[in-house]
Amino acid sequence: MQASSRAAETLFIAATLGLLVFGCHRGPADAEPPTGRVVLIGGRLAPASGVEDGEWRKVAKDDANTRFSGLATITPGNVATLRVAWTFKTGIARGHEAAPLVVGSTMYVVTPFPNRVHAFDLKAPNGTPKWTYEAHPEARAQGVACCDVVNRGAAYDDGRVFFNTLDDHTIALDAATGRELWNTKLGEVARGETMTMAPLVVKGRVLVGNSGGELGVRGWLTALDARTGEIAWRAYSTGPDADVLIGAAFKPYYAGDRGVDLGVHSWPPERWKIGGGTVWGFVSYDPELDLLYYGTANPGPWNNEQRVGDNKWTSGIFARRPADGSAVWFYQWSPHDLYDYDGVNESVLADADTPNGPRKLLFHADRNGYLYVLDRANGQVLSATQFGHVTTSRGVDLTTGRLNYVAEKQPHVGQTVHDICPGSPGAKDWQPMAFSPKTALLYIPHNNLCQDEEGMQANYIAGTPFVGEAIKMRPGPGGNRGVFSAWDPLGAREVWHIDEDLPVWSGALVTGSNLVFYGTMDGTFKAVDAKTGALLWHAELDSGVVGQPITYRGPDGKQYVAVFSGVGGWAGAVVPAKLDVTDPTAALGFVNAMRDLPQRTRAGGTLYVFTLP
């Protein structure tokens, strides 16, 4: 880590920050040549929290959500010889979106429903299981999981493993023995609530949120005491200020976000109670500012005509204090979201040195197709640049912070609007990007999907879907449904990209040796050069990859790369759930874009661990 940290500090990046801040109005084309400097806060934090390099203690490796590992044993030069070290079959044929954790000599994985936790002893050969925990969630929870019965990973802190179950329990296990320490029920399956996110532990608080924005669930982020499992605070994403934990400290940057009880008054009467804004993405944390960052999901129902108003505080990002949850600022990516553009995508935190001094930044690739650079201290948008094909909006007004929607693309009840790009899964969905301080580039797995859409009256019946849009997705321009790209956030430009036929639904991983790993839904796991995007190595796995790859140093000193294969999730549900590909609206319209997937891969669930020979 020391080496990589130094490397990072010596890196100069694409644009001066001052010019960036004041020049955004002129657009990225006018940006000056690189003179600014970016510093990873993750890099600085690592020694402070005492994490040994070579471990993977959090789903995103660090609180800044970088998915960057300094390990460099596997290099562009030798990656071609990478081979399977061992595998583990979970016995569950659903979407495996989780990231394994590696703490010391133990690897922890959490499976999709029924949410088993497996611990592997890495000192023993070939992934010998250490213990297994069965959560036994309620079967009926499967019926309210909008987009496959996935789980996105566990969290480790202080000898405990924390994870969520589909039926709304957060469970703490003894990391050594797999014994259940506490088990807190946080939501109601009968109201449509599920939990799929990976928790984040900050200062003894386990942060978890709910899923179910397609079922009229009211979203929240909850902090649990890591020792007892008691609820420390809960911040709702809709409703009165008291519920949202908006108090005196709340200082949003833009005027549109200031006012009393906007979470009530930006909705039709009482609709905030079933208004979505769930929290199921990744949470980031900046210890210096002592702020949590997380996105809120789409407002419900999708049919926007049933919820006139800005629908605060959905499809936006909150900065909160971990201690009491009080909101510090908020910014809404998609006010009055029209297309299920959840705002939950992860935020990568990084610092930039500028001629005017250091700036604390936040990078966020939103579903609405823009890559945002925010000042994470106050929530100001510094730039917002299209990174995918967008027809639904014409840029972000940096004076008001508002997204400029294209009126003709607004969905209406009883009328099909064509060529909505990006489609509902957005230019990028949950699949997390990686950030390398060495190259100062973001590695973004994303989609290239458009859709035709017709609004329909959504009928709220508690515990059943509350959507109100009929959707047919199709590939975007070029015909490829996915893209993997390297993005220079301060230069606001794409450096290279790889067209993938299928949406890139897996996470990304970048290493200190400038290797980038990601998987595709037809089951190929790839390593590419972080500077050029050249394909260096690939392996065919038994099922499509929608998991998050990680890398770690084993007790034997070798560098390993691990990833789940097991196609599923919203994009891949057509395979494990055997959806009927002749219905274009199946899986909320995703099936129309994935008709060929059942022929290209099969359902499965295997953990793959690779290493050099």
Binding site: G414, Q415, T416, E454
Partner: protein
Amino acid sequence: MTSTVATESTPDSRSEDARLERELTDTWRLCRGFAGWFCETNHTVIARRMLVTAFVFFALGGVEALLMRLELARPDNHFIGPDRYDQLFTVHGSTMMFLFAVPVMQAMGIYLVPLMVGARTVAFPRLNAYAYYTYLIGGVFLYVSLFTDTGPDTGWFSYVPLSGPQFSPGKRVDVWSQVVTFTELSALSTAANLIVTTLKLRAPGMALNRMPLFVWAELVTSFMVIFAMPAVMLATMCLALDRLVGTHFFNSAVGGDPLLWQHLFWFFGHPEVYIIFLPALGMVSSIVVTFSRRPVVGYLPMVLSLVATAFLGFGLWVHHMFATGLAELGQGFFTAASIMIAIPSGVQIFCWIATLWSGRLVLATPLWFVFGFVAIFVVGGLSGVMVASVPIDLQVHDTFFVVAHLHYVLIGGAVFPLLGGIHYWFPKLTGRMLDERLGKAGFVLTFTGFNLTFFPMHLLGLHGMPRRIYTYRAATGFGPLNLLATVGAFVLLAGLLVVLTNVVRALLSGRDAGPDPWQSDTLEWSVASPPAPYVYEHLPCVAGRYPLWEGIRDCVVEGMDPRQRQVLVTAALDAAPDHVYVLPGPSIWPLLSAVATGVTFITMIFTPWAVPLGLALGTVCLVGWFWPRPPHEPLLAEQP
């Protein structure tokens, strides 16, 4: 020129005439026996069948109307209920429009036009038979479906999306759309037939400006049919495709438009009114002239009015759609067009009054019906001017005011003249005279009943009663006027029953009519009543508009071969003889083709395999139909 035109007949030709008559009778002999029933193509036979069929449908439509009137007689009535009521008014409207009014007017044309223009028959006798059978099958199918609970229930203009696949499940609207498509096929065939008959088979000398006004009316109507019917056939086919195949012509969700249906439908629907009403004007002209005992005042304005009506009739369909909120400027244009169409109708009424004014009136029953027609039709016309005005239309559109208006126009403008025409031509059709006293009693009752039924509807509409409601609350106060209308409907029924009694009595024991009981002016009265199958022993030729009054009965065409079904083809404008054409004889193929058409259209409702099946059947039928005739029946007769 292949025939000779003689200006006078040979005086000593009694035995020659007898031979001629024998040969003609032999050549034009009607088919006999059970099979002959299905082979017959003689136009008088087919027209009589068509008339009877149309009046049967009129009676059925009337029964439906009476049931509806019973349902509406009291507030909160549950005599019929919504489902049945919707089927009743839909089938009533469709029957009256598609199965009665158009066919009956065409039947009168088919019967009378060849007689009036001095032809032996229509230009395409087999097509004529085919048209009749198609119409019959369509009508029977509609009623079969009504009796099997599959009666269409979306109104006679079946607005989408109510009549679309989602809101009208089952086969009800499919039945309607297919019935409309193929009864209009029948109407189109007949129209083509009438146009060619009128333009090419007129007696030598009957230039266009000497044609009887009734023939003019049928000619203009037939042209309107040719331009209007394809629009509705297109619309109903699109509807059938939407419903059966899953196309999206009218699905606004994916870019179709429900207003497209309204445009297509009313582009047909408004001219339809004139299609029904122009032949009736022709009948009125015939009756007025005959019973005024003088030529009509203003022949040229009358003809021009007919033609003008036909043109204007296509320019005002949008006044059925004012409430859809179209652009104001467009509305102004269509208001102007709708108001201006009153002018040609007005001109004709003025001409008739002028004719009566200076005539020597014979107040026979047909003329009474004409008087009734004028009184009712003027009311209907004036309320028509009201609905042409956008603001007024927005109030009265789709209310009972419009129901009253359209019945004043259609019953007043078409049924009264038709009844007058039936009374007038009954002797020609049957050889019997109707009873004058019963006829006049029938008129008084129908006239009174009609006004009792429909006049209150104007008030109901103005007071807020929408159309097509199966019941209403007592508090609305619609009760008394509705009861009055129901009573009126039964008086109207009584009147029509008197007319029917008169007809039956006359058929059983009516006075013998003779060829020309009314001392009329037109050629049909120069032949026997009812006419022989060959109609004219010698084809006549004419030198004026009123041949029988001008005393030129002796001008005939000579040189036609009586052993062939020959007709004389003349020039379209001046009717100069051109050549002789030999018509085909009786045939089973028109019936079989109609059955094939019917089977195809009906099966199409249930399976797409009907299309290949229909193609196969259609091919077989056409081959049979056009199988070359034996050599002794040459297509073009060579004359020495």
